[in-house]
Symmetry: C2
Subunit: 205 residues, 2 copies
C-alpha cells in the first residue's frame, strides 16, 4: 500500500513524474483552519486549491489589471504544494508566520527536487511569484486565496475569526490587496465585515 | 450556517458569482470510488479535480499533439462540477453509465444557470469539450483523468478493480485514449496491468 509499492517502467523521468503525483496526494491530509461551508469539518489543501482555481475563472472582470487566467489557474493549483512538508500556517498567527518563509523554502527544496530539474524550477517559480504578489497574475491569484476563506467564514458563523480572536484591523490588512485591486469585490467584503462585527465574529478594533 | 446566511452587496452579478462559489463547495461531499493513496478513505471530486489539474502541468511532453496547458487546467478544475447534482458514476458500472448522459445534462442545466449566462455557457462548453474527447486539449485532459485513478489503484492493492471485478479488456478499453496518444505512458500502464493481473487485482480476460 502506498508509494513504496510503485512499479516503474524504467523511463527514469516518467517514473519520477508519476511518483511525484503520488507524493502530492498528501495534500488531502494537510488541514487548514477554514471550515467547509456545510460546517462538517476543516477543508484540506487539495480542496482549497481546487476551489480557488475555479474562482479564478469567475472574477477576472472585477480586477483592475487583467490577468492570464490559464496561468493563474496553474499557479493556484500548485501554490500550496510546499505545505505537504511545511504545514499550513494560519494567516492570523503572528508567531507562526515569523518562521514561515524559512520553513517553506526548505520544504520547497525537498519537494521540487523530486521532479525533473526544469519542471521543479517551473513550479517553484510559480509558487514564488504567487508569494511575492507583484505581477498581475499573482495579485489576482492572491485575491482569490483571501476571498475564499472570508466567504467560508461568513457562511460558518465566523468560525476561524472567533477561534483566532481576530480584529477588523487584521482582517482588513489581510484583504488590502483586494481593496486595492478589486474595488467591486471590496464593497461586498466591507458589508460582510460589518455584518461579522455585528454578530461578534470579528472584534471592532 | 451555509449558503442561506449569504449577505449580498446588491451587485446582482457579483452576488451570483459568490453564491456559485459557495454552491460548488459541495464537490467536497461527492465521493468517488477511488481510494486516497494512503488508503484512509475514498477521494472526493474536489480532491480529484485538483490532483489531475496538477498532473496536467507535468505530462504534456509525452502526448503526441501538444495541448494548451492553461486551458487544460481550466477544463480539469470544472470537468466534474455537474456531479454536484448528477453524482459520480463508476467508470466500470455498465448499467449506471446508460443513464449518465441524460442525468448529467439535467445537472448541467441546473448548475450553470446559477451563473451569469455567458460564464455558465463558457464553463459548460469546457465540460462538453472534455466529454466529447475530440480536441487535443480534451484528449490530454481525459488521459490525466484516466491515469490518476489507475495510479491510485496500483498503490492501493487494486482496490476499485477488485470491488468492480474488473477485467483486463475493460481496463484497456478505458485506457485506449492513453495508448493512442501517450505511448510512453502506455508502457508504464501496460507493465502495471500485468502486475495487477499477477496480484489478482484485475481478471485476465
Amino acid at each position: 500500500m502506498g508509494i513504496e509499492s510503485f512499479v516503474g517502467c524504467g523511463n527514469f523521468r516518467l517514473d519520477q513524474q508519476l511518483k511525484f503525483v503520488a507524493e502530492i496526494d498528501k495534500m488531502t491530509q494537510i488541514f487548514r483552519r477554514t471550515m467547509l461551508i456545510d460546517g462538517s469539518r476543516r477543508e484540506n489543501d487539495a480542496e482549497h486549491s481546487w476551489h480557488i482555481a475555479v474562482m479564478a475563472l469567475l472574477f477576472s472582470e472585477h480586477v483592475k489589471i487583467k490577468p492570464d487566467i490559464g496561468r493563474v489557474v496553474k499557479m493556484l493549483v500548485v501554490h500550496d504544494l510546499i505545505e505537504i512538508y511545511a504545514g499550513d500556517t494560519f494567516a492570523f498567527d503572528v508567531e507562526a508566520n515569523k518562521s514561515k518563509a524559512a520553513n517553506e523554502a526548505a520544504a520547497a527544496d525537498k519537494l521540487f527536487s523530486q521532479l525533473p530539474a526544469e519542471q521543479g524550477a517551473e513550479i517553484r517559480s510559480l509558487w514564488e511569484e504567487f508569494d511575492e504578489m507583484k505581477t498581475p497574475d499573482s495579485i489576482y491569484a492572491n485575491c482569490m486565496d483571501r476571498v475564499q476563506p472570508f466567504l467560508h467564514n461568513t457562511l460558518t458563523e465566523g468560525c476561524t475569526w472567533k477561534e483566532g480572536n481576530v480584529s477588523r484591523t487584521k482582517v482588513e490588512a489581510r484583504l488590502a490587496v483586494v481593496k486595492e485591486n478589486m474595488p467591486e469585490l471590496w464593497k461586498w467584503l466591507e458589508i460582510n465585515i460589518q455584518e461579522a462585527i455585528k454578530h461578534g465574529w470579528i472584534k471592532d478594533e
